[in-house]
């Protein structure tokens, strides 16, 4: 039964497409299965970008969006970098400082949105540009090389090593799976726990699916919005930190590519833009598909520009097909009817009457 239900979801299609692509790439270019040089970097970027996708997914769950996801990542990473470079803090403390910075900037964003009621798109867009201005300036100010290169103990282990350096009783792990994947797994489990098992998670989904109803049933929607943006900032900062760990230094360009990917993952995975529904495995699969295609294009020698074109097209096609399925599903019982534009209320008749009623009142 569960299997049957899974077959009907977009996630199932993603799994099939991913499997097909792996087979095609592997058959055409046997070098694709090279563990340390192809598979491990691929898993590293999937791990980092899954967290980026989750950072977007949590705000999508309340029907908001976070354009500043990349800049929050660079901001959090910058704070971690400062902690390591100037204060020589240990790994965990620096990481926590970065996460806190991400949470703070996210909470500020959420607070502005909740307080003013302005569209999250505009607030996060403005925030992203404020941070685009701030972060490189701080880097320039504090570091002559415009990068923080100090590495605390364990930094390289987290970012650049794979399981073959973890040996237990003489048995070592595989060199195709990087350590960083653990971080992504733990994050996915935590976010999954939040949405399926906790009251807060359900309240976020209720807020996303109908804010007014949520408010009327006693959910403090304002504070939920602040919390969810803070969570998004934290996740973004974590992704920024992991990216810095994987490339070995903190630079202002961290997060530059996060924005598009952060939308591609959740949306391909079936998370709704309108809020009220999330899919964590879907986000993971969406990110995996996008990065797999990128790796494939690299292997076949295509430039990054074709990736952009392809990603844009995939986004459009995936969403249109979703839409078509949606409309067909809804229209099936009365297929004879001409499908009216979906964004208008289907009940034209009562609406018209309502307006006429209004006129009478105003007379």
């Amino acid at each position: 039964m569960n299997v049957l239900r899974f077959v009907a979801t977009p996630r199932f299609f993603l799994v099939i497409i991913i499997a097909a692509l792996v087979v095609i790439f592997g058959a055409a270019k046997p070098a694709f299965f090279n563990g340390p040089f192809v598979i491990a970097p691929l898993i590293t970027s999937i791990s980092i970008f899954t967290i980026v996708g989750l950072a977007q997914m949590v705000v999508l769950s309340v029907g908001h969006m976070n354009i500043a996801v990349g800049q929050m990542a660079s901001f959090g990473a910058m704070v971690s970098g400062i902690a390591f470079q100037l204060f020589e803090m240990p790994l965990v403390v620096g990481l926590l400082a970065g996460l806190l910075a991400g949470a703070a900037i996210g909470a500020l964003t959420g607070w502005i949105i909740a307080r003013t009621g302005v569209n999250s798109f505009i607030v996060t867009l403005a925030m992203s540009f404020a941070l685009i201005g701030l972060v490189p300036t701080v880097y320039q100010w504090l570091s002559p090389a415009v990068a923080f290169t100090a590495k605390p103990d364990g930094f390289d282990f987290l970012g650049r090593e794979s399981f073959d350096s973890v040996c237990v009783l003489g048995y070592c792990g595989t060199d195709s799976v990087p350590i960083i994947s653990i971080a992504a797994l733990i994050t996915m489990l935590l976010i999954g726990y939040l949405y399926t098992r906790t009251r807060l998670g359900r309240e976020l989904l209720v807020t996303g699916s109908n804010e007014k109803a949520a408010k009327l049933s006693g959910v403090a929607t304002g504070s939920r919005i602040v919390i969810v943006h803070a969570l998004s900032g934290t996740l973004a900062a974590f992704a920024g930190f992991l990216l810095a760990a994987s490339i070995g230094s903190f630079t202002p360009s961290i997060g530059d590519e996060f924005m598009l990917q952060s939308f591609v993952g959740p949306i391909l995975g079936g998370t709704l833009l309108a809020g009220g529904y999330v899919s964590i495995t879907g986000t993971f699969l969406g990110i995996t598909l996008a990065l797999l295609i990128r790796k494939g294009l690299e292997l076949f020698g295509f430039g990054i520009e074709s990736l952009n074109v392809l990603l844009g097209l995939i986004l459009l096609i995936a969403l249109s097909s979703d839409r078509i399925r949606d409309i067909r599903g809804r229209r099936a019982p009365r297929s004879a009817a001409e499908p009216p534009p979906a964004d208008q209320p289907p009940a034209d008749q009562p609406a018209a009457q309502r307006v006429e009623g209004d006129k009478e009142v105003s007379r």
Binding site: I122, G133, L260, L316, Q344
Partner: protein
């Protein structure tokens, strides 16, 4: 009610004008008068044309309740395609300009068409077309810079001045006037505003919202095409980075200029003035030799501030409008809309 509204817009524009005057005075003093030298004035106006145009392009999509993330990549792709055609294929300059305009309008039309046909959120559609077009832009020029020597006639327009004012700036002003005429005095423009203000009421008044969305996106794309033409005329060459930094200024100008983000309103003068303010910030940045990143920071902060203030004002206005509606039995807006439809 109406007079109050006009007075309010005027006060917003007045604030912006005062800021511009103060900024100009400040820059004039700190630069020791250099800011008023003919060359400096010409440069200022030359590079004001594009911010005005992209601000208006964004404003048009906002007026129907949509947004256009693809502004920079439409403009960049149009400029690069036209540039490469003029440089490599020997296409005459005039035809090259027409290509830029046509590509812009076509891309905008496709945006609108996709929004209408697929019913996907306009944000995602333009995000996707932004990605596609920036990829296409890179595919067209790759890593090289196509020099403006290949289109002497067009760069001649970029250098030409009338009474010390660059022609490209006058073109931008002319476009602003046309947009203003379209929104204030044409049936099509009023229809866009009606769709943006209340789609359901617009439908009942016989206006096709789908058409409004497509028209708005196409017009927005066309203005991006004009901005691409002006980039070709004023820059020393086009490359992959053209259009890359248009996104924030395109939103900043209408938002600071007083356009409601929910649709249904336009502020052409406000948008133009706000674009000038942003340009002034940029000039000031150059004057004090600060990093370019500062402009982003200042503009981002100003947008946040404006949005917060605007919201406070909206709440107040809504309260007032509620009181006014209670007093006046005949609301102004709906009658006007139906008048247009008949």
């Amino acid at each position: 009610m109406r007079r109050q509204f006009t007075a309010f817009t005027k006060s917003q524009n007045l604030t912006l004008a005062v800021i511009i005057v103060l900024g100009v005075a400040l820059l004039g003093v700190t630069s020791g008068g250099n800011f008023f030298s003919p060359v400096s004035v010409r440069t200022f106006f030359q590079f004001l044309a594009v911010p005005i145009l992209i601000g208006l392009a964004q404003m048009i999509t906002i007026s129907v309740g949509q947004l256009n993330l693809a502004i920079g990549s439409i403009g960049g792709f149009a400029a690069c395609l036209a540039g490469v055609m003029m440089a490599d294929l020997g296409v005459p300059d005039v035809l090259g300009v027409l290509v830029a305009l046509a590509v812009g309008a076509a891309a905008g039309f496709v945006n609108g068409w996709l929004v209408v046909v697929t019913r996907i959120n306009g944000f995602i559609v333009t995000l996707a077309t932004m990605t596609i077009l920036s990829g296409a832009q890179y595919a067209v020029v790759s890593t090289r810079t196509v020099s403006s020597r290949n289109w002497e006639f067009v760069s001649g327009i970029g250098r030409a001045t009338v009474l010390g004012i660059p022609v490209v700036f006058l073109i931008a002003v002319a476009v602003a006037v046309l947009v203003s005429l379209a929104f204030n005095h044409s049936v099509g423009g009023r229809r866009l505003l009606a769709s943006g203000d209340n789609p359901h009421a617009a439908t009942l008044a016989g206006i096709s919202n789908d058409r409004s969305v497509i028209v708005a996106h196409a017009a927005s794309g066309l203005l991006c095409g004009v901005a691409a033409f002006i980039s070709l005329a004023t820059l020393s060459g086009v490359n992959q980075s053209v259009g890359g930094d248009w996104l924030l200024s395109s939103f900043a100008a209408p938002i600071i200029g007083g356009v409601s983000l929910t649709g249904g309103s336009v502020a052409i003068l406000g948008t133009t003035l706000a674009a000038s303010v942003v340009r002034l910030v940029d000039s000031g940045r150059a004057e004090f030799q600060l990093a370019p990143a500062w402009v982003n920071f200042v503009v981002g902060a100003v947008v946040l501030g404006t949005v917060a203030l605007g919201r406070a004002r909206e709440v107040r206005d809504a309260r007032r409008a509620g009181a006014a509606r209670a007093l006046a039995p005949q609301p102004v807006q709906p009658t006007e809309t139906t008048g247009v439809a008949q």
